[in-house]
Amino acid sequence: MHELPVTQSILDVVLRHASANNVTKIHTINLAVGEMSDLEDEWIQRYFDYLSKDTVAQGARLKIERIPVVLRCEACAESFQVDIKQMEDIVCPSCGEKKFALISGREYYIRNMEAE
């Protein structure tokens, strides 16, 4: 739903790095996005194509690596991965406790870009 401002931020960041590195064309941008985010890959790319027209990022492909949701049990400190679609009946696989801290799954990160 909020892909447009997010995409604008991605473009701003990569253009700043492009200019600092004398880049003439960006080919690929590698992102890391947590599974808890509602961003839709297809929409980000579509907005990016629109926003990046006439910049060195025009035509760049966004590769999004989804980072899984990992919880850590509050009782026994066991960490384990969960399916975001099946958050209903999660219990710690090690001790059966039901209270957890979120370790990963909220990432919103630009790793790097391939450019010339």
């Binding site: 931020s9 039901k98 870009m113 391939e114 450019a115």
Partner: protein, 223 residues
């Protein structure tokens, strides 16, 4: 053709917003103004809760309200009718508030004259969860008619809030809403969250909510 090189970036996508939110929090600390970000779906009772909160705490704190609405001023008129300063921020179709918008909205207030500013965020359980507004505390409302399954559908929202207000508990008898199941689902995502049951219509639980907020604001003002 030039060689393709890999340029490391390693930056948060929303780092600009995060930085502005941190700056705003520092300023609010200096001004001694507590900023509460209130989020929920449309129709769950944000404006009603704000009106109840004003009634409960206006003798103790100087309150302002920052209303975000896609394109209307209905809510801010309701708040302004209580004599409390309300600023309307039309988001022009935006689905959430971010730190720059809140910073701009706060310019309409004299913050040195206010102890507490409540942001009524855009009615939406998705987008506002992703954008740090610069608030000191995040609160959300879930109303009974929305159902106890919402933490399963909008986990991020429930995981970033400090307090969950369950509103419209006067509807509990008419629905199959399972409060125990809701609480288990929410604490699974966020073990530290405070859950308060209220009815803005009957006034039930409002005292508990007002006390939670008053303790937070008083603690903040003491520094």
């Amino acid at each position: 053709m030039e060689e393709i090189k890999l340029i490391e970036i390693k930056e948060e996508i929303l780092s600009d917003n995060k930085n502005l939110a941190d700056e705003l929090r520092i300023r609010l600390r200096q001004e001694k103004t507590f900023l509460l970000n209130l989020m929920s779906s449309p129709g769950s009772g944000k404006t009603s809760l704000i009106l109840r909160t004003i009634a409960a705490l206006r003798v103790r704190f100087r309150i302002g309200v920052l209303e975000a609405d896609i394109d209307s001023i209905v809510d801010s008129e309701k708040v302004a009718s209580t004599g409390i300063q309300a600023v309307q921020l039309r988001t022009g179709g935006f689905c959430h508030l971010d730190a720059p918008m809140v910073t701009r909205g706060l310019e309409a207030f004299d913050l040195t004259m206010l102890d507490l500013v409540i942001i009524e965020n855009v009615g939406n359980l998705v987008c506002p969860a992703e954008f740090d507004t610069g608030a000191v505390r995040n609160a959300m409302i879930l109303s009974v008619p929305e159902g106890d399954d919402k933490p399963l559908k909008y986990p991020l929202m429930f995981s970033i809030c400090d307090v969950l207000i369950v509103n419209k508990i006067d509807y509990l008898g008419m629905s199959d809403f399972n409060m125990q199941a809701l609480k288990e689902r929410v604490t699974r995502l966020n073990p530290d969250i405070t859950i308060i049951e209220v009815s803005c219509r009957t006034g039930a639980g409002i005292e508990t909510w007002a006390k939670w907020l008053a303790d937070e604001v008083a603690g903040f003002l003491r520094g």
